[in-house]
Symmetry: C3
Subunit: 140 residues, 3 copies
């Protein structure tokens, strides 16, 4: 049993979904692990992970809209306001989605379905450099 | 350290929760792994996974109702409409729940609590055949 | 490859976030595993897990408020009412957050970001003793 790990940096330019499915493929190739378990971990509390459809970009736009309507920036009961009007909504959106995702690996490929892509979901307005840890454990 | 993997097919007949806790027991028995980590992975973006109470079926009905009220099918701002009025709400409900779940395994059994059951949460109206990957890594 | 597991008991006194990040450090030290994968698993369906900011306590208060507004206890369509008015909302809040979280481990430390803390999110009013399973798999 072997393991391999890498930290991926993703640059974001405001709220929205940033796909990094191709980076998973590159990571898997460099790990040389053929069968095992892939973990993706987001090291932040104001962005998160999402596995979603990567066929029609409208899906990603609608997801962003839904979360902005469910968690608007003008909720008057919010007490954590020191980091700007988009910060507390960002923490809430992160709580409603994922910080870690695990995907079984078979024959060198993560078991993603046909339409599944992996996204960093940025919830802040300002550009950020985000860190996502990739880790795989298994057999070569 | 050993690993074992299998793809489970689950047939759904419209929106709702479909329990597959017994299948986990069968899978664990065939793997012969006694201590390790079990991963359950859903290969779709319009259904998802949920660990929930399996004692009172009313809980499952109420969960379905809550998500249908939170994400109704008549949201007029939706742009992704080509696959029917239940499709984009399905993607959103999947984003709000789980695509992967990991459960430690002890003495051949997943560490589920007394009332916990594992469910596929179908978000589409039409019948579907869904694929869930089961993977376990550990010691016999 | 080694593994190590432990069940953590967390006593809660009503709804809110209970941090147990320090317990992860103690668990990792006793496991002696330096590189691998840490899994945290919640054995309940009316409390859940959350990775969130542990700098400003207002964030935790606002998270609790948001979920209580999104899933209030007076929803008149609820059918599962036998366990009290806070029970079905608790199941729904658990469904919207996490039951399991996986964190890669590097040099003996979980790859938590600077501001990330791990919380048990209690959704019931009454005090409870909750069980969280910690499991790590990797190399010493």
């Amino acid at each position: 049993m072997q393991q391999w790990s890498e930290t991926l940096e993703i640059t974001t330019r405001g709220q929205g979904l940033y796909e990094f499915t191709p980076e998973l493929g590159r990571f898997m190739a460099s790990s040389r692990i053929r069968d095992g378990l892939l973990t993706i971990y987001c090291r932040h509390t104001s962005c998160s992970l999402l596995i979603q459809e990567n066929a029609d970009p409208d899906v990603q736009a609608d997801l962003k809209t839904f979360f902005s309507r469910l968690v608007p920036r003008n909720m008057d009961w919010i007490t954590h306001t020191t980091e700007g009007p988009d910060d507390m909504p960002a923490h809430i959106k992160a709580a409603l989605t994922q910080t870690s995702v695990c995907i079984p690996v078979n024959d060198g490929r993560p078991a993603l379905g046909t339409w599944q892509g992996l996204y960093l979901f940025e919830h802040r307005d300002a550009p950020h450099r985000r860190q996502v840890v990739l880790h795989v454990l298994g057999e070569e």
